[in-house]
């Protein structure tokens, strides 16, 4: 192993130590599953590492996030990450979930909600509303037009429920 290789490995290790937690959070939002998030994060970091010589330290986080989006929406990899998805038409409020909906401690509430979106829709929502990218930046990240980002966000918002609304729906159902 050469000195330069050692240095790069140290740089990469520091990057993972600093940003691993936040990247894992994005992976969790993109996949909706713990195991899928772990796999997605590791695969994205692998690709980042393989291109480490060309990755600028200040943009490595965004670079890795972009890779995660690509992988999470990739047709080959979706099965591997076990991305949690649900058919909206089949979805009904869980009669036993009222307490969870009303509890602010239920930090997976929105992850469950995201399962009603496609992998690409979920990626667009996460980039737009969690990463706080502009519509143009999201479009460039995902490889779609700005118009598609706008329409996807609008459609996704209409399909995601607020906690209050979900709790109300649950109470009505029960």
């Amino acid at each position: 192993m050469t000195t330069s290789t050692t240095t790069r490995e140290e740089e990469f290790s520091a990057f993972v130590a600093t940003h691993g937690g936040s990247l894992r959070h994005v992976a969790h939002l993109l996949t909706g599953s713990r195991d899928g998030a772990d796999d997605l994060l590791q695969d994205a970091l692998l690709r980042t590492w393989l291109h480490w010589r060309r990755v600028e330290p200040q943009t490595a986080w965004a670079y890795t996030r972009r890779i995660m989006v690509n992988l999470a929406t990739d047709r080959w990899r979706r099965k591997r990450y076990e991305t949690v998805s649900a058919d909206l038409g089949d979805w009904q409020p869980d009669a036993h979930a009222a307490a969870a909906f009303s509890a602010t401690e239920d930090r997976d509430f929105i992850v469950d909600q995201l399962s009603h979106l496609s992998a690409r829709e979920r990626a667009i929502v996460v980039l737009r509303y969690y990463a706080d990218l502009s519509e143009a930046e999201v479009a460039e990240h995902v490889g779609v037009s700005v118009g598609t980002v706008k329409s996807t966000c609008s459609r996704a918002l209409s399909r995601l429920r607020s906690r209050n609304d979900a709790a109300e729906a649950t109470r009505s159902k029960s």
Binding site: M1, E9, F12, S13, V16, A17, G20, G21, R24, H25, H28, L29, R34, A37, D38, L41, Q42, D43, L45, L46, R47, W49, L50, N70, L71, D74, R75, W76, R77, R80, R107, D108, F109, I110, V111, Q113, V125, V126, Y129, Y130, D132, G143, L157, S158, R159, L160, R161, S162, R163, N164, D165, A169
Partner: protein
């Protein structure tokens, strides 16, 4: 139903958490190890993507597996067979050729014919052309010699959102860093490849040898190598990780065919378990040509199965159907 508003969604996404924090030290170690195997895999991929000769009829690859005999696998079981022995040596004036006058051609890139083997610039009409040695320790130009219009299956296939375009690439035909000696007998060849996400890749190639015996020798030399971590990985061995190899004889495919597969294992609680990362190269010989199709990526366990072979089958079907269009045929 009232949909969630943008601010509420931002808040929800920010605080959503499954309670799992990554062990960054372990994560980093795993990524670095996988990086080493991917890089090695890419080298192997280029190396394996060399050849095979298919002849005449095509075969259903589904039934191929039923006639497959496989040896090797656990490294410890690989017998330390002798390393390749070169049976062919460069000969400026080949005394035998497959019924045709050899076409020296000219390399299209990179490799320069060895000095004393370079044909004279203006040979006498009656002279037998000298034979250029296209290989540089296993490295070939991406396209060289006269293939008579032969086309690899995915020639010109454009890029998609997920896969690069199929493009020419200079192949490195080495096995555990050894270049089979029979490669000096190659008179024409072509190699293209495409790459997908996360270290996935596909290669197609053809190598045409001067004689059928040279092509036979080539595959025999590939068979003869010792495939082991010690022989192949050298400085890149990592505690807790190892490579596994398998060499399978694929019967009823061309005159001669082999499948060479490689995959990674990791030690988990004292037990070796398959881990992502592997490649499969299938080479088929017919006469003096060898076609090789290769696929690699995050296979878990031995990649040699019916699905992987089926993925390569169209390439072999297409190559066979062209019936060796280069001068002298098969």
């Amino acid at each position: 139903m009232s949909p969630i508003n943008e601010n509420e969604l931002r808040n929800e996404l920010w605080y959503a958490h499954d309670g799992a924090e990554p062990d960054t030290d372990r994560l980093t170690a795993s990524v670095l190890q996988r990086g080493r195997t991917v890089r090695r895999n890419r080298t192997i991929a280029g190396g394996l993507a060399a050849v095979v000769l298919l002849g005449g009829a095509t075969f259903g690859i589904g039934s191929l597996l039923e006639n497959t005999t496989q040896r090797g696998v656990p490294v410890s079981e690989v017998s330390p067979t002798p390393t390749a022995t070169t049976t062919a040596s460069p000969s400026p004036t080949p005394s035998t050729s497959p019924g045709t006058t050899p076409t020296p051609g000219s390399p299209t890139s990179a490799t320069t014919p060895a000095g004393d083997q370079t044909p004279p610039a203006d040979p006498p009409a009656s002279a037998t052309p000298a034979w250029p040695d296209y290989t540089d320790n296993g490295i070939f130009p991406a396209d060289f010699g006269d293939l008579g219009g032969f086309r690899l299956l995915h020639e010109g296939t454009p890029a998609t959102d997920e896969v690069t375009a199929w493009e020419e690439e200079s192949p490195v035909v080495r096995f555990c860093d050894q270049a089979p000696g029979a490669l000096v007998e190659v008179e024409a060849g072509r190699h293209i490849q495409a790459r997908g996400p996360a270290g996935m890749g596909w290669d197609e190639s053809v190598l045409v040898f001067r004689t059928e015996q040279a092509a036979i020798d080539f595959l025999d030399q590939v068979r003869s190598y010792e495939y082991s971590d010690e022989a192949c990985s050298r400085d890149e061995q990592t505690p807790g990780w190892r490579d596994q190899w398998a060499l399978a004889e694929l019967n009823d495919l061309g005159d001669d065919a082999i499948g060479l597969s490689w995959w990674t294992q990791a030690e988990v609680d004292g037990t070796w378990a398959d881990a992502p990362g592997g490649s499969l190269s299938v080479s088929v010989r017919q006469g003096r040509a060898v076609y090789t199709g290769l696929t690699f990526g995050e296979y878990v366990g031995d990649p040699l199965d019916a699905d992987a072979l089926a993925e390569l089958q169209p390439f072999f079907d297409d190559a066979l159907a062209q019936d060796c269009p280069w001068p002298g045929g098969c």
